[in-house]
């Protein structure tokens, strides 16, 4: 069963003929240089951006799914959020429950999980970039959606919070979820179950990171030389 399937997805000027099938229980890394279409792909997959081709969630075309039902199936975390109004952090996280009758299930747990308990009553527009990112991830988590699409979730996080996000992705996948995250750190990508590599709006490669992320591809797509050697390894205690 595919959780998420894209069939010849095209967005003029940004994506061309991208087809992928993503299964449950997987952590998928979305890689590619700046401007290669990662954010666009995630938004199309989340049903937020119209496109040519087809997007299916568990076999159903996304257009046929009512909007509140979509929110219960797929969560999307934007790359960055600009907050004009000073809603309290807890209130923003609780918005993730909007499609569940606005209850408070899991809100406190998500706040604790992302180290936001002490910030719960702070206005969200007064937070730092990393703190805002954690708020958005917590909001996505409380939706309890089995498919999680995260746009550069690690971009402004410190090492510890970054590792915790990866740990969360692992837990969600173990529980049968599908987690897709765009990222730039190729070393992180190596720890995931699967990677998709975009270049110039086209899907350049897909599959196991160990095979896909070879020196030839990295040279071609990113213009960097890859060399294996000793490196600093970070882990949660």
């Amino acid at each position: 069963m595919t959780a998420l399937a894209l069939n010849k997805v095209t967005v003029p000027g940004r994506l061309r003929d991208v087809s992928v099938k993503l299964g449950p229980g997987r952590r998928i890394g979305l890689l590619g240089p700046n401007g290669s279409g990662k954010s666009t792909l995630l938004q199309v997959a989340a049903g937020l951006l119209p496109s040519g081709g087809e997007v299916r969630w568990s076999g159903r075309r996304v257009q046929e799914i009512a909007i509140p039902e979509r929110a219960r199936q797929v969560a999307w975390v934007p790359q960055e959020a600009r907050f004009e109004f000073g809603f309290p952090v807890r209130g923003v996280v609780q918005q993730g429950r909007y499609a569940h009758g606005d209850d408070e299930t899991g809100v406190d747990a998500a706040l604790a999980r992302f180290d936001l308990t002490t910030l719960a009553q702070r206005p969200v527009n007064a937070l730092s970039g990393g703190e805002r990112q954690r708020v958005l991830l917590a909001r996505a988590l409380v939706t309890a959606a089995p498919v999680q699409l995260w746009d550069e979730p690690l971009a402004s996080l410190d090492p510890r919070h970054g590792l915790e996000v990866l740990m969360l992705a692992k837990e969600l996948a173990r529980a049968g979820g599908t987690v897709v995250m765009s990222l730039h750190d190729l070393r992180v990508a190596h720890c995931l179950d699967e990677v998709l590599v975009l270049a110039g709006g086209e899907l350049r490669a897909a599959g196991n990171p160990g095979t896909v992320l070879n020196a030839a591809l990295l040279q071609e797509v990113f213009g960097v030389r890859a060399r294996t050697g000793e490196t600093l390894i970070l882990e949660l205690p």
Partner: protein, 330 residues
């Protein structure tokens, strides 16, 4: 842990709404009692019940229509401002700054000069809504949602100048004796000589306010981002359309009965957001009552100051507040 700004809690904001309702009631009573004939509580009561014929005439035919027009106008402009701020995700958006009120005034003035307004009581309000809708579309074309404050405000400046010129031109080509007061009315607003006709013409405001009420929660989500809101289950397209129509009707109807009254849609939602937090479910009723109280207070102040026009008083209060806001954001 870090200490710092916290979002204001319920402790005393819970008593804000009852407090504003009491304030509004007091202002209404004072407005009914004060004027060329000043009435104490006893005479006011005698006037309301009809026991005192002179007082009754003054209250029922002159002061009550004025008070009700003020209340409806204030509620409409502040709530319209609140809705526009959520729509544009910009706390500087308001019907007057964006030119929507000027559009309503231009529409109204055009129908008067063409003689259409005499055909039916509804021609003028409908023309005001049409003018406001055109202005709204123009703003949408010039500044997209989530556009920067500069872009939004510049679009408003341009539209205000253009529509103000239309209004001035139409009035200046009319008959000389009517010019000065009409020009003042449509450019600075006022509540002089309001009758029950104006109160009836303002009734769409009540309907629009009732329809804004249930949009509070989805507006919370929309005000933090459109795609985000949709991904969380808000039907963004329908919501946006409803918000735009309601804000336009509110601003246009208020302008049709009271002329262009500036700054209410900016000052009132802003001040309330600062005290009660940004949640729209709480802000909508607060804006309804707070806006009504603000306009009534400004009208009263203008009357006590010897007949200052409503729009002049709101500008005197709102102008400095707006400048302070700009400074704070810079």
């Amino acid at each position: 842990m870090t200490t710092g700004v916290h979002v204001k809690r319920d402790a005393w904001t819970g008593s804000l709404l009852p407090g504003l309702i009491i304030l509004l009631a007091i202002l209404a009573l004072v407005s009914l009692g004060l004027g060329e004939i000043t009435m104490g509580p006893a005479r006011l009561w005698a006037g309301v019940t009809g026991a005192d014929r002179e007082a009754s005439l003054v209250i029922w035919q002159i002061r009550l229509p004025r008070v009700l027009t003020a209340v409806l106008t204030g509620a409409a402009l502040s709530t319209g401002g609140l809705v526009m701020q959520a729509y544009f995700r910009n706390s500087l958006a308001s019907p007057d700054l964006l030119g929507v009120s000027s559009g309503a005034a231009a529409g109204a003035v055009l129908t008067i000069s063409l003689g259409w307004a005499a055909l039916s009581l509804w021609v003028l309000p409908v023309a005001a809504v049409a003018g406001a809708a055109l202005a709204t579309f123009a703003v949408l074309a010039l500044a997209r949602r989530g556009a920067s404050s500069e872009r939004l405000l510049l679009a408003g400046v341009a539209l205000n100048a253009l529509l103000g010129a239309v209004t001035s031109y139409v009035i200046s080509t009319g008959e000389l004796f009517a010019r000065s007061t009409q020009l003042l009315f449509w450019l600075f607003g006022g509540l002089e000589d309001r009758t029950w006709l104006h109160v009836w013409a303002a009734l769409p405001i009540v309907v629009a306010l009732a329809l804004v009420w249930p949009l509070g929660r989805p507006m919370d989500l929309l005000s933090l981002g459109e795609r985000e809101a949709q991904s969380l289950g808000v039907g963004v397209r329908g919501l946006r359309r409803r918000m735009l129509v309601l804000a336009t009707v509110l601003a246009a109807t208020a302008t049709a009965v009271a002329g262009v009254v500036g700054f209410v849609g900016l000052v009132v939602p802003h001040a309330l957001r600062l005290t009660a937090g940004p949640e729209h479910r709480r802000l909508v009723p607060l804006c309804v009552v707070g806006g009504a109280a603000f306009v009534l207070a400004c009208d009263l102040a203008g009357r006590l100051a010897g007949g200052l026009r409503l729009g002049v008083v709101t500008a005197l209060v709102g102008g400095p507040f707006f400048l302070w806001l700009l400074r704070k954001r810079a």
